[in-house]
Assembly symmetry: C2
Homo-oligomer: 411 residues x 2
């Protein structure tokens, strides 16, 4: 047994002993990682893995400017929002400037789950409704409320007054999305349930990545608003420029949501997240209750999030996501033309779903074979038959070449 | 207008413009803080405030060893638990070693709210019940589920199948606590509700701080277990040695809970938290679902939490909490003997509730007058008439003297 595999066996045994069986690992042969930098993750033997999966380290693993902002602020002041401090205000200013003017007020939280859970609370108070519409294979978070709105997390059971519509995963289902939302509202009405919100990941990540043709969200939002409900855009995965079009996924759709949630990449791995709202939507909630989140908007989290916004701008990562993403999609389409296993290539920017035409087992084989060859990706979709390609936004041409070359071998 | 008050006015205006009206500030004249160190927080004019309130920076604000661990790990690797890494296993080992052997498995989360919300999910699956018993003025977190279990957060409305019992805030109510829990179980039974859990902060922080006589929790837990429910110990506030007795508040009560949650001080301000469980309690939940928390147990959070555990041990902070806490309580009792405004002094270690006999308005006056004299504390309790004294555990004799001297002036 090599020293690498013996350390892997040791880590696996300790995980079984110490961590709850709720924990899962990626890959048939799990990867032991000891350091990371840019788009690379490294094993204890120095082996480099190309990270084509992790959206959290959006500006690249361990970006020195992020580490510096974190270390500097942590040494100076790490406190909460019940004192007056500069950082949360600087961050709110910078963040709100990336939104349409209607979305003018911010609440900071620690995780995408906390943001989505709060958005649901706010939508129920604002509308007086309780019904929530999600897509069939949605994922929105880990709280009790959100587990009931996350069929893809494996719980199976939907929460009370949660309704699903098929995700707009191809042209046909996209063209039917708005009318299916309308039908869902009618089902709710027949059951005596008043709608609170349509809650959607604006690129339908866990449903298998859907991006085209943009626009279907605007029509769906009209139906929901006509019925007294709100549009909540879950930007936890598509946000922060990943689509290569704009900072936020909803902007591709020409619609302005009532509430927008974000998380994962916001601190490049530091737990920081936010809910952005139309002020009139949050007014009644604020009249009824305070919301204090101990770590939400703390000075360190805000300093880190500011550094991430700086880097996205300085390194022009939205442009990079658009250009490199387009190259990658062209490359995948070219591969698909030679390999019938590879079907539709969906997505926008550096968020790509590649349909595997031969099902889940083959998808799993491809993901694991890529891992064996040093390329880390994942899978998604209701049938587990979509390659989920979502690298840090500092991905470059040479990394595209390595991914495509390795995928060609594996196919 | 001084430069300090003009900057305060500017910050207040920006907060109103940028942050949702759900945000609140401490004190009639809010405090602008620009840096902090140990037990001190500083304004932009260099004015020092003695921090007698914040339990989050448990080892002192900006402890260099915490900052170093954070900066070092953030530069090396910040990734999640779906790869094999050392840090979460090291942390689980160190943390579980502080628990009775029955509590043998860990799940990492980011906030106390996430831990409590998960504990509720687990308790419902483990018991098949839905009823949850809490204390009358409890606070357990910010999610939709927990807002319904946090009457003190101002929402007013309890969640479905949530029942309250009076907090064991004095000798009499402590002696009746177990029988009141039993009566509550009978009320639930009459309503056809099966109990899932008794969820309590083991020092009843928001109810006004209750510690003596310890032991009432054990009897209450027996009743709940006999009815098929679990005991969830919310250690978010009393945990990490604050009571001066042991690492966890429940240990003073001679009871072993089924689930234990923790948060706030775990990372000295870094968002990291955990749920510790009896393995048999979590088994069915794990069979039904995976639980993946993107930032929960990430390598940086774990490195920070390990540094906090190191410092608590190296600096003998549990002993310090016991000894300095005892001095502080004696000093407060001595003050109470001269000032009838000051009533019962409750608590354990460096978690003290001081009853103000003349009501909320006077409590508010005292808290604000202390702030004007450079001492930061808060209030708690259903009637808002309890001084909440909960400083970093590096509090020393000279800080006790300053607090008592200033309080004597104010009274």
């Amino acid at each position: 047994m090599s020293s690498s595999s013996s350390s892997t066996a040791d880590l696996l045994a300790r995980r079984r002993r110490l961590l709850a069986p709720t924990y899962g690992l990626f890959y048939e042969e799990p990867v032991h990682i000891t350091r990371a930098s840019g788009v690379w993750m490294y094993g204890p033997d120095g082996r480099a893995y190309l990270d084509v999966y992790n959206n959290v380290p959006v500006v690249g693993h361990c970006h020195p400017q992020v580490v510096e902002a974190l270390a500097h602020q942590a040494a100076l002041l790490n406190t909460h929002t019940r004192y007056l401090t500069e950082k949360p205000l600087e961050l709110a200013e910078r963040l709100l400037a990336t939104f349409p003017s209607e979305l003018a007020t911010a609440i900071f939280t620690c995780t995408g789950s906390e943001s989505n859970d709060l958005a649901i609370r706010v939508s129920k108070v604002a509308t007086g409704g309780t019904g929530v519409i999600i897509s069939e294979w949605a994922y929105h978070g880990t709280t009790e409320t959100l587990a009931g709105m996350s069929p893809s997390s494996g719980m199976g059971r939907l929460g009370t007054h949660v309704y699903t519509v098929p995700a707009p995963i191809d042209q046909e289902s996209a063209s039917q999305f708005a009318s299916r939302v309308q039908a869902c509202i009618e089902t709710m009405r027949a059951a005596g349930v008043k709608p609170a919100a349509l809650l959607v990941d604006t690129i339908f990540s866990s449903d298998g990545v859907s991006a085209d043709p943009p626009g279907y969200l605007a029509a769906a939002a009209e139906h929901v608003r006509a019925a007294g409900g709100l549009l909540i855009a879950d930007e936890v995965q598509p946000g922060f420029g990943r689509t290569g079009h704009s900072m936020w996924g909803f902007q591709r759709h020409g619609v302005v949501p009532d509430l927008v949630t974000m998380g994962k990449p916001m601190g490049n791995g530091h737990p920081v997240s936010a809910l952005i709202a139309r002020p009139e939507v949050i007014a009644e909630f604020a009249r009824q209750t305070r919301y204090f989140n101990t770590f939400g908007g703390n000075t360190v989290a805000c300093a880190v999030a500011l550094a991430v916004l700086d880097i996205i701008e300085q390194e022009q990562l939205i442009t990079n996501a658009r250009e490199i993403g387009a190259q990658l999609r062209r490359g995948l389409q070219e591969l698909a033309s030679r390999h019938p296993t590879l079907g539709a290539i969906r997505g926008a920017g550096l968020f790509i779903g590649a349909q595997i035409t031969t099902g889940k087992a083959e998808t799993t084989r491809i993901v694991n074979a890529l891992r064996q060859r040093g390329v880390l990706i994942g899978s998604a979709g209701r049938n587990g038959d979509v390659l989920k390609i979502r690298p840090p936004l500092v991905f470059k041409q040479e990394h595209v070449d390595q991914l495509l070359g390795t995928l060609a071998q594996v196919l």
